[in-house]
């Protein structure tokens, strides 16, 4: 049985890859995937601790999180499709239509 720290370190790495992806990447779709990575990092932490505590509540949380993440995927995908249809680009750096 692998010690919990392995999972946690992995989760932290995933989380930071996600953060970096969000902050650095310009393609909205990749940003979006980085976000999913962050969600899953959290899920991993939940599951790891859930096993550590021999309690189910962490896993149930993951269940909910997955659902929510799916809803977000749906919305995100829809938004990206709409914006691509209007603008023919999903480069977040080009989202500069709004300013003072």
């Amino acid at each position: 049985m692998a010690p919990i720290s392995y999972y946690l370190v992995l989760a932290i790495i995933m989380f930071f890859i996600g953060i970096l992806g969000v902050l650095i990447r310009r393609n909205a779709l990749i940003v979006f995937m980085s976000l999913e990575l962050m969600f899953n990092a959290a899920n991993l932490v939940f599951v790891a601790f859930s096993r550590q505590y021999q309690a189910l509540n962490g896993q149930i949380s993951v269940f909910f999180v997955m659902t929510v993440a799916a809803a977000e995927v749906a919305i995100g995908l829809a938004l990206m499709v709409t914006i691509f249809r209007t603008k023919h680009s999903i480069d977040v750096d080009q989202m500069n239509n709004l300013k003072g």
Binding site: F63, M66, T67, A70, A71, V73, A74, L77, V81
Partner: protein, 118 residues
């Protein structure tokens, strides 16, 4: 725990080996005489016109989105089914509510025409 999954992993490894083996066999024994015409993407014998991958119709995105949503609902059915007997009528009522909400969404999607393939 691990004992349950180790055999599957063994199978997975073997299956992967098999898959690549087939590829390698093909690569080893198959002749290799590419020409420009042969390497061109197949387009009923015509010279290919325009890019091979083009923009995907939005309908596919719609299916993808709907799938994600409904698939997640399906995921909820499975654990519910496992504990159904312990919970009895309560579980049934809960699931009816769940399905009811799902159906409302379903009717909405239907009426809005998202299920029409055109």
């Amino acid at each position: 725990m691990l004992n349950d999954y180790l055999p599957i992993i063994i199978l997975l490894v073997l299956a992967t080996v098999l898959g690549f083996l087939v590829l390698i066999i093909g690569a080893l024994f198959g002749p290799r005489r590419p020409t420009q015409r042969k390497a061109a993407p197949y387009e009923s014998g015509m010279i290919p016109y325009g890019p091979g991958t083009r923009r995907i119709s939005v309908r596919y995105y719609l299916v993808a989105v709907l799938f994600i949503l409904f698939d997640i609902e399906t995921v909820f059915f499975l654990p519910w089914a496992v504990v159904f007997r312990q919970l009895g009528w309560f579980a049934l009522i809960e699931m009816l509510v769940f399905i009811g909400i799902l159906l409302i969404g379903f009717v909405y999607v239907w009426k809005k025409g998202a299920l029409e393939w055109e």
